[in-house]
Structure formats: C-alpha cells, structure tokens
C-alpha cells in the first residue's frame, strides 16, 4: 500500500491538489511561441571552434594505420583528436550504476565495430574547414567478417564483435549470458494443450529523428571549469559520463540544458559532449560539435530491433496453458542501454495474463549494426507487439472473440505471476471492457460483469491443477491436439466451443512463402465489423 508521508515538509507543501483534469500551461510555452527558447545551438560564443569526426566506412574492420599528416596541414585546423587523447577511452553508459562492463571507446583505436563509428575528431575554425580536414585523413583498414543477424551472432564460430563480450551476448551478474524465467512446467502445459501455436516476430530499428539533431557546445570557464550547453535528455547522467571519460571531478563540469528539440530516447547516449569538452580542454576555446542530419539518421542509435519467438499451448476453451519465449535483442556493436531493455522485457513477460507454465530466455546480442538505445518503452513495446499479435491469433485459432479471449486469460488481483509475485492493482479486464465499449465492440454480459478484483463477478476459467509427473509425457500427448502453424489455414475446431453462437470469423491469411514472420496488417484479419 502506498503511504504518503505528509508530515515531511508539512509547512512547505500545498495539500490543495487539484491540477488533475484541467489544463495547465507549460512553463516553456511563451518561449516556444515567441521563438526565444534557447536550444544548445542558439549559443554563439566568442572564438567558437567546430568539431567534426571521421566515421568508419566499414561495419567491422581493424585499423592498420592512421595518417593524419595531410589533415594536420589543412587550413583552419586547430587540433586533431585521436582515441589516445581521450583520458579514459572506454565506457559503458550504465557503469554509473555498476551495470555492465566498459565496452565502447569515444574514438575507435584498433578496431571499428559498426559503420559510422567515430575514429578521429577534427577541431577547426569553421565547419567547412573541419569537414575538409576530415576528408584528408587516410586510414588503412583491414575488413573483418561481419554479423548483422542476432541468430547468426549466437552461432558457434561467429565472429567476435565486441571483445569485452566474446560470446556476443551481454553478461548478467558476471556469469549469465541471458535473462531467464522458469515457472511451472511448459512441456507439461504443451502436452495438455489442444493447440500449439509457434510464431516469430521481428521488430525494425526505428530512428528517433528529432528535429534538432544531437549536439553540444563546451567552453572553458573560470576556476578550471567547463560550461557545456547540450541537447541531452539526461543532463546529470551525461555530466557524470563525461566526468568519467575525461577523468575529471564532476564539479569541473557545468552542464546547461533542458531545452531539447525532440529526444524520444535518442539523446541519452552522451555522444557529443565528451568530444566537445575535450576539444575545449585541448584548444582552450569554445568548441561546438553538432551532429548533421545524415549522421543522425545513419549513425545515431535507433530503437533496437528485437526478434521474438513465442510458443503457446492453448486449450480449446480458450485457456493459455503454457507460454515459451525466446527473445533476441539486437544491441548493435555496443551495449548502450540494451542490457537494461532486456531486463525490462523479462520483467514484462508473459504479458498481463495468468499463465500457469512460463519459460523465457531473453538475450542481449551484439552485432555489427549501429548500437541501439532507449526509445519510448524500449524492451516492452516490442514484446507487447508480439504478445498481442499472438493473442489475436490464439483467439482466432480457438474461434473466440479476441476481447473475450483476453478477459478469460487476464491476470487478476491475487493471481501468481511468473515472477512469483502476487498480482496487485490489476486493471486489464476493466481496460478491455472500456476499450470494447468505446469501440462499440459487442461483448456478452458475463464478460461485461467480470472484474479484476478477487471474488467479484464471473469466475475466471479455472487453470488446471499441477498434474503428477509422468514418464514420456510428449508421447502421451492427447489424441486431439493440433500442432498448428498459423500461417496455414487452421483446421476447424473438433467440437463446438461455446454454447452461444459466434459471428463468423474470416479465415487466416494465406501461407507466407518462407518464414513465420507476419505483416502487421494481418494482425486484425479476424476482426469482426
């Protein structure tokens, strides 16, 4: 139960809480409509220099030799920065909370692991001169075998992408190569099921594409401090990350930000600040490093692409008896925040449903793709997409209304979740009821009366009590069980499912030519109008 400690700061608090339900003006709105809100790039400092980076044209390659001689003589160049100039040139974002090993350099030294990885930074009087000098840098690359697919990356003998993680998987608690959930016995659940549905879901990387690209301006301040104007979404996180990479106390850095031209998760990675501050340290002048639009779209971290396999066992009366997950997070070449996303994913499984037998494994996998990062519910959004597609297909398979199918399987207060925590404050049933009403979706009275509260409304479909262990349970599969591939037309149910007549459902989509990945549009193939 949530306890509000109203005795704390009692003399400073206004208990007249009545903001909810009425519009309140944003404090930055006047600045926005008068175009006077100050974004990082609206600072013009005296003697400001410009920083641009050389990015790798390869996805995986060893750097044999770096020739900077021509670039150093290029007009307007003030300083060229290499990996060796970065005080602590290896970091991982979540090391600030002791999660994960340092695995990513600010500037690549011996090897590049994704296309667009920065190798050398040039600080020059103008952006044009910085670009011209970057074009004069000569690099001798030795291309290495690449891996762009999470399943390929997990195969024995796959090229090692990030030497910090030689198995191409993030390491949890120093020993585990994935997150796992074990609850009940999925094999027994599958054996008891009337239908088995196995599906594969694939998400795409999504670029945040903020209208203001990532960037920062750093300038020497008095007392040996540096003031940093930045687009970051995570001001203090970014400050501490820079303090670590640059090996200075955090009180040497003064970050100014908060006015962000769109972030959506794409401005938490601290990609520009370490280099602009280092540029200011090495030149004694303000240094601006703004990511270009093309760089933002191609080389800044997107939402991670996740591949999710779900195998469900369902009874013909609509109960999910077992659910098995295998989820592969494409982290790209470095961890950034994907390790955390995989934890969130595992915490969210098996969705808001009570399922007596759950088995899950969630991997954070390294590939030669651009590192993935935070984006709007990352870790949960993709798995919800997969789960809810699966729920629609299961409902279709057993010939039930998809809303009612969800209600039958919804978790309720007092249910035991797969994480062995009792479900509290559940509200899926009420949400589905309201959604159905708003959508004018017909729902029978017994379902309208259901409630998430214990012992209220119609009883939930009983889940079977654990059965005694049997030998060779897979051989003793019930005679009527269907091993179903959804993408083929499902066989008609062997017996009437419900006492009440059901509106007709359209047949499943035709077979996909090669694999089980489905198109989004087919999700609602069974929707009734």
């Amino acid at each position: 139960m949530l306890e509000l400690r109203k005795d704390i700061f009692a003399d400073e608090r206004d208990d007249n809480l009545k903001e909810i339900g009425k519009p309140t003006q944003r404090q930055d709105m006047l600045g926005h409509v008068t175009a006077t809100s100050v974004y990082f790039n609206d600072h013009k400092l005296q003697g400001m220099l410009h920083l641009k980076v050389l990015r790798s044209p390869h996805s995986h390659a060893r750097i044999r030799r770096l020739d900077l001689s021509e670039a150093e003589r290029s007009p307007g160049v003030r300083r060229i920065i290499r990996g060796a100039d970065v005080p602590r040139n290896l970091n991982t974002l979540l090391s600030l909370i002791n999660f994960g090993k340092d695995d990513e350099p600010a500037l690549a030294v011996d090897k590049i692991r994704y296309k667009g990885e920065p190798i050398v930074a040039v600080v020059a009087d103008s952006e044009r001169e910085a670009f011209e000098a970057v074009a004069k840098i000569r690099v001798d690359y030795e291309p290495l075998p690449t891996v762009f697919d999470v399943e390929e990356a997990l195969k024995p003998g796959a090229p090692v992408i990030n030497e910090t993680y030689p198995k191409n998987t993030f390491t949890y608690h120093d020993i585990y190569d994935h997150q796992k959930i074990r609850f009940g016995d999925v094999e027994r659940g599958f054996a008891a099921a009337d239908h088995i549905l196995e599906q594969r879901y694939q998400m795409s990387p999504i670029e945040h594409a903020p209208t203001e690209t990532n960037g920062s301006i750093a300038a020497p301040d008095t007392n040996g401090r540096y003031v940093v104007y930045t687009s970051t979404q995570a001001l203090f996180f970014s400050l501490d990350t820079c303090a670590k990479i640059l090996d200075v106390p955090s009180n040497k850095l003064h970050f100014i930000g908060g006015t962000v031209g769109g972030g959506f998760g794409g401005k938490v990675d601290t990609v520009t600040e370490p280099l602009s501050i280092l540029g200011a340290m090495l030149t004694g002048r303000p240094v601006r490093y703004m990511i270009g639009r093309e760089e933002e779209m191609l080389y800044c971290a997107p939402r991670g692409a996740e591949r999710i396999f779900i195998k469900d066992g369902v009874s013909r009366d609509g109960r999910i008896l077992a659910r098995q997950f295998r989820c592969l997070f494409d982290s790209g070449a470095y961890t950034r925040l994907s390790s955390y996303a995989a934890v969130k994913c595992a915490a969210h499984l098996p969705g808001p449903y009570t399922i007596p037998n759950v088995y899950a494994e969630v991997y954070c996998v390294f590939t030669n793709r651009v590192p993935a990062t935070a984006m709007r519910g990352f870790g949960v959004t993709a798995v919800d997409f997969a789960i809810e597609c699966q729920m629609d297909k299961l409902a279709h398979l057993v010939g039930m209304d998809p809303m009612e199918f969800r209600l039958i399987n919804a978790y309720r207060d007092g249910d035991m979740k797969a994480h062995r925590r009792e479900a509290k404050n559940t509200a899926l049933i009420e949400c589905v009821q309201v959604a159905a009403e708003k959508a004018k979706w017909p729902m029978r009275d017994e379902f309208k009366r259901m409630s998430s509260l214990k012992d209220v409304g119609a009883p939930r479909a009983a889940t079977p009590a654990p059965q005694p262990a049997r030998e060779s349970i897979l051989v003793n599969r019930p005679a009527g069980q269907q091993r179903t591939v959804y993408d083929r037309p499902a066989p008609p149910p062997p017996e009437p499912i419900r006492p009440t007549p059901q509106p007709p459902l359209s047949s499943p989509p035709a077979a996909a030519p090669s694999h089980g990945a489905i198109r989004f549009s087919s999700v609602f193939g069974g929707r009734r109008r």
């Binding site: 519009p23 003006q25 944003r26 930055d28 709105m29 006047l30 600045g31 926005h32 409509v33 008068t34 175009a35 006077t36 809100s37 100050v38 974004y39 790039n41 609206d42 013009k44 945040h208 594409a209 903020p210 209208t211 203001e212 690209t213 006015t259 962000v260 031209g261 769109g262 972030g263 959506f264 270009g292 639009r293």
Partner: protein
C-alpha cells in the same frame, strides 16, 4: 574567400552584411544577424524548421542562397510580436497547447502566417496543406491545426 555585400529588410529593418559564396539564408540570419528564431533541422529542405517569409512567401531558408534575397523583405518568427503583444497566431498556439519541444514552432508559425496573409479564413484542409512542409516530430499536428484555425477569422467568429 571573396565576400559579397548583401542588403535586405529583416522584420521591417534594413540590414547589411558581407556573405561568403554558398552561404544559406538560414546561416545569414542566425550567424550574421543573430536572429536565432529560424532553426536548423536538416539542411536539406526536408523538415520546415527553418521556414521564413520572403516577400510574404514561405521558403526554406536552409536551401535558399543568402545572395538571392538582396533587396527583398524577410520575415521571421522573431518579428511576429508587436511590442510586447503576441501575434494572434502566437496567442492561439499558447491557448491550444500547440507546442511540445518547440523546435518546429517558429517554422509552423511562419507557414501559418503566410497562409493568413493571403487567406485569413482558411478551411481545415487549407491549414493542413499550408503546414504540410513542416514536420512536428512530437506529432502534435492536431493541436497545431486547431490553433491555426482558432486564430483565423473563422475561429475569432466562434469565440
């Protein structure tokens, strides 16, 4: 690099400067005049954050060469207010919560002003058409469209 003298009107005032060949109007406004109201979003004419008016017509200042506006009148979002008074569009954007991150707002305002200057009574479809070159990545389009309609004569009549 040789520089070219350039004069134009900026929000009703005459300005003069020397510009490098290839300098964009956006750069001239931001870096030479110090008017930071037009924003850099893409540099490719794709997002509309840099929208300004040249002789009343909305243009993308990031892909307009500065030299081409000699003798012309440039309006930016910085010139919308009259003294301390907000332009009706600015007031309507505030009242209708038509900004989130605010980065597209100056461009949206100028695209809307160009519409009002030639058609003070636009339909919803005409409003949508007028801002079709401006991206709001926060996807606040409904609020923006409603704000522009509220600021129009039609909206004023309703109020």
């Amino acid at each position: 690099m040789a520089k070219t003298p350039l004069q134009f009107r900026h929000n009703g005032r005459d300005v003069a400067m020397f510009v490098e060949g290839g300098m964009s109007l956006l750069s001239a406004l931001r870096d030479e005049i110090g008017d930071h109201s037009p924003k850099f979003g893409c540099g490719q004419g794709g997002c509309g954050a840099c929208t300004v008016l040249i002789d009343g017509e909305p243009v993308l200042s990031c892909i307009t060469l500065a030299e081409t506006v000699a003798g012309k009148s440039i309006e930016t979002a910085d010139g919308l207010k009259t003294g301390p008074e907000l332009h009706p569009l600015q007031a309507a954007f505030m009242d209708n919560f038509a900004a989130q991150c605010g980065y597209c707002t100056p461009g949206m305002l100028m695209a809307a002003k160009a519409l009002f200057d030639r058609n003070p009574d636009p339909s919803r479809v005409e409003v949508i058409d007028a801002i079709s070159g401006n991206i709001c990545r926060c996807t606040g389009y409904e609020a923006i469209i409603n704000a522009i309609l509220a600021a129009s004569r039609r909206g004023a009549r309703r109020a």
